[in-house]
């Protein structure tokens, strides 16, 4: 589906004759080239996982955080240009605290997703601003239950049962669709997410990777937190075992 937009792709305020804004599509390519990020909504919460491609062996493990808490009840996993992602997270945090100080209650996840989407979209309207080169998966748990949203560089934000962005998104989506999400608890979901990420990681093309995961569920008291150490190790072990099984065939 890719085509060059010679002449119509120099500015985000220019439409092509077939109604496309090429700059936004190019921004999406920046997301497509980053490590995979997935999120799933289980029956009691949301689990998010990131395939953090390690750029250098000199980097400290655990640095380069890709999942951020936006508010007590919600978190964001970012794919694409890291610096752009930092900006979006900062804005989301600010929207959340502002909403709480005006309305006296935690921002509903739907409202947060709308505001993040509007902010990202804002940056596609002016020639002197470039679009954000990152996509965001937002998971939260409010009075309406657990919810999962994805915001793309165009500013579009939809609600999902399962979402994936980045390099391995096609493969990841196929795997997610196989899961029976309505019957999965978050504990089980964490293991499944780990399996999927380990499964889609391309050993040949990319080097090492680090798995980062977070959840917000009944077990975490509806707070967005990093998945606890022992559960994470358990999930990694299960994922490696599943890989070996596949290779053994």
């Amino acid at each position: 589906m890719s085509s060059i937009g010679t002449g119509y792709d120099l500015s985000v305020t220019t439409f092509s004759p077939d109604g496309r804004v090429f700059q936004i599509e190019y921004a999406a390519k920046a997301v497509d080239n980053s490590g995979t990020v997935i999120g799933i909504k289980c029956k009691d919460g949301v689990v998010m996982g990131v395939e953090k491609l390690v750029a250098s062996k000199m980097m400290l493990s655990g640095s380069n955080r890709r999942i951020h808490s936006v508010h007590r009840h919600s978190g964001m996993a970012v794919a694409g240009l890291a610096a752009d992602g930092r900006q979006i997270v900062a804005r989301a945090k600010s929207e959340a605290t502002n909403y709480e100080s005006v309305y006296g209650e935690a921002i509903p996840v739907k409202e947060l997703a709308d505001r993040v989407g509007s902010y990202v979209h804002l940056c596609t309207l002016y020639w002197w601003l470039r679009p954000f080169g990152c996509g965001v998966i937002l998971g939260g748990y409010d009075r309406e239950g657990p919810q999962l949203y994805m915001v793309e560089p165009s500013g579009v934000s939809y609600r999902y049962f399962g979402a994936a962005i980045g390099k391995g998104r096609q493969a990841a989506k196929t795997e997610i669709e196989k899961l029976k999400l309505s019957e999965l608890t978050c504990r089980q979901g964490v293991v499944e997410v780990a399996k999927i990420i380990y499964g889609i990681h391309d050993e040949a093309k990319d080097k090492d990777f680090e798995l980062e995961m977070s959840w917000v569920c009944d077990e975490s008291n509806r707070q967005h937190k990093k998945v606890p150490e022992e559960l994470l190790e358990e999930a990694k072990a299960a994922a490696k075992a599943a890989l070996e099984e596949m290779d053994a065939d």
């Binding site: 005006v102 309305y103 006296g104 209650e105 509903p108 409202e111 009075r143």
Partner: protein, 238 residues
């Protein structure tokens, strides 16, 4: 003499007032008197101090009539927008918080104490007291206005948790009538608003139907009765 009258009549309208909000098992009952005074002149003897903010949240107003009206108007406007954005009715907590923000941020200028009460599907019936200065406090019941001074002891004794709707309304009507008996700035009729999952009910208790307390007198024969004769007769002036 003229100057004094002017000062009185041009004085800002204040609602001396007695306002009450009470939770019961299933919702809330809001109650108020109906006297609006400018000095000692009763500018409105049948005012409605219980104002609607949304379908499910009402506010009792006391203090400066102008200030409380403008605050209610702003909050109604903000809540309307919030409801459209959210796609569902606003909660009582959100309404109360908006009232409190206006009260607190304009504390130098405003002089109004309010009681926000309503019902929402998450928390059920809730009452929030927002006195002068802009604190917000969630309470099982709240009293306000000049007449409330006379009701603290009464509520300490008469209030109980988990009343029925009728018990709660009777408590509110009795309390307002007690305050009216003692507070010169409260009077007129008693209005109540009951809010629960089923909706909103407004009730009206005329002043002459309220119980009398201690040494209050029964209404006497009034010369006005002559004027109410069936056919208009000229008065006999000897």
């Amino acid at each position: 003499m003229n100057m004094d009258l002017k000062k009185d009549l041009d004085a800002p309208h204040s609602m001396g007032t007695t306002i009450i909000g009470v939770t019961y098992n299933g919702g809330v009952v809001l109650g108020a008197d109906s006297r609006t005074s400018t000095g000692v002149y009763v500018a409105n003897r049948a005012s409605d101090k219980i104002t609607q903010l949304t379908d499910n949240v009402y506010v009792c107003r006391s203090g400066s009539a102008a200030d409380s009206q403008i605050v209610s108007d702003y909050v109604r406007y903000f809540l309307h927008q919030h409801t459209i954005q959210q796609g569902q009715p606003a909660t009582v907590k959100v309404a109360a918080n908006l009232v409190r923000l206006l009260s607190y941020n304009n504390k130098d200028i405003l002089q109004t104490g309010m009681i926000v009460g309503g019902w929402d599907k998450y928390e059920g019936g809730k009452i929030y007291g927002i006195p002068l200065g802009g604190t917000i406090i969630e309470q099982p019941f709240s009293i306000g206005g000049s007449g409330s001074s006379y009701l603290y002891g009464f509520f300490d004794q008469a209030w109980k948790e988990g009343m029925t709707k009728d018990e709660a309304e009777q408590l509110v009507v009795k309390a307002v009538s007690l305050a009216i008996a003692r507070d010169g700035a409260s009077g007129g009729v008693v209005r109540t608003v009951i809010i629960n999952s089923e909706g909103v009910t407004r009730n009206f208790y005329p002043g002459d139907k309220l119980p009398l307390w201690h040494e209050e007198l029964e209404p006497q024969n009034s010369l006005l009765d002559i004027l109410n004769a069936s056919s208009p007769e000229p008065m006999n002036i000897q």
